[in-house]
Each structure stands twice: as structure tokens, then as C-alpha cells.
Symmetry: C2
Amino acid sequence: MEAETVAKAFVDHYYSTFDTNRAGLGNLYQENSMLTFEGIKTQGFQNIVAKLTSLPFQLCQHTITTIDCQPSGPASGMLVLVSGNLQLAGEQHALKFGQMFHLMPTPQGSFYVFNDIFQLNYG
Amino acid sequence: MEAETVAKAFVDHYYSTFDTNRAGLGNLYQENSMLTFEGIKTQGFQNIVAKLTSLPFQLCQHTITTIDCQPSGPASGMLVLVSGNLQLAGEQHALKFGQMFHLMPTPQGSFYVFNDIFQLNYG
């Protein structure tokens, strides 16, 4: 598969899981994974899932505006930069967000999230 | 130096160079560097400088809102996600932007930009 196809499939999967079954995101991280969410740093899939499931909003819907990807180097990783809108239930206006993923290959031929940085842009 | 200090120093240098001497950005890229600017892919420092200096605006000023960084893996690289505002000369409103850098170490103890993805968020 082309890198763009992999990136789009990952992004679709990530945000549909976030919006419907946030705890299921744990499968996408490993013990060395890092998340920086609005400046707060977390490491390890258990801590990352705890962070994501304890955010101060429950129902939400992500809409993706752009997906860009590049190979990250000889280890066959892939960098993905996403921009989009985050609609929280009960809020009138959607929030703009930017999120960067560094995907690393697994021995099984899939990818996991090694780096994850999320920022709201308050657009 | 701590990673955050390096990231902030890089970001300050990058955008002040962009706003005052855009051609000088070439020193920050190498032959294997990649730039995706608003979805358009470019590779190699000469092509990247040509792209950046031919953008359809001359005078501009970046204002940084957030800088986040994480180590990118065993090769001692560093991922930096920046959000901020881009004010173009003669325009009333600033544009929001998001930009991701993957910095890799040089033998001289400095860093160069291996990956660069820039996106306007049209905020």
C-alpha cells in the first residue's frame, strides 16, 4: 500500500475509534509510546488511554480537513500531520485542532503510534 | 540542553529567518530533507528553498502560540509541533497555521530539518 493510503486508513480508524470507543485506542499505542495532549505529557499505552478516556468531554465528533504524511527515516516509520474540526456535544461551534502522529511498524506488518502530539487551535 | 530548550531555540531561529531572510532557511535543510507545504511535496534543500522563496507573499510575520516536542526514536531525532499565526503584509486578519518539524542531529552537534509539514488552518 502507498504511504498516503496507510496514513488515511490509520486516520480514519483512529478518529472513528476516538468518537465511538475511546478506550479502544489503547491497541494503537505501546509501552514506549508518548502523548502530548494540549501540552500535558503522558507515556505508555495504559497512561495514554487513561488520559484520553478522562478528558472533560464525552461525546465528540472529529472531522478531518487535511492529512499529510512523510517517511520518518530508515526505521520505516511514518509521520502524519492531521488538521480538522472537533465538535463537542452541546457546543455550538466546532474547535479546530492539529495532531501529529509518528507511526512505527510492528513485527506483524501493522503500525503503532510512537509519538502523538495534539493541539487545539481555538479557531 | 533540554529538548524543550533546543526546540524553542530552533523555532525562534526558523521563523525569524523566514520573516527576515527566507533564502537563509536553506542552511537548515539537507539533500534528503522533505517539505510538504499545503499539500505540495518538495525534496532537497535547493528545491525547498526555491519553494519557500517563491511563495506568493513576501513580507510576513509569524507569531508562535505553542511549541511541543518529543524524541523521535533511537536516532536522537526530535519532533516539534508548532501552532501560531501568520500575518501577511497588507492583510487585515492573520492566518492560523500548524507546522511539524522532524529535526535530526548533525555530526557537528547541531540539528537539521529532515521532515517539514506546513498547513494553514484558515482560522
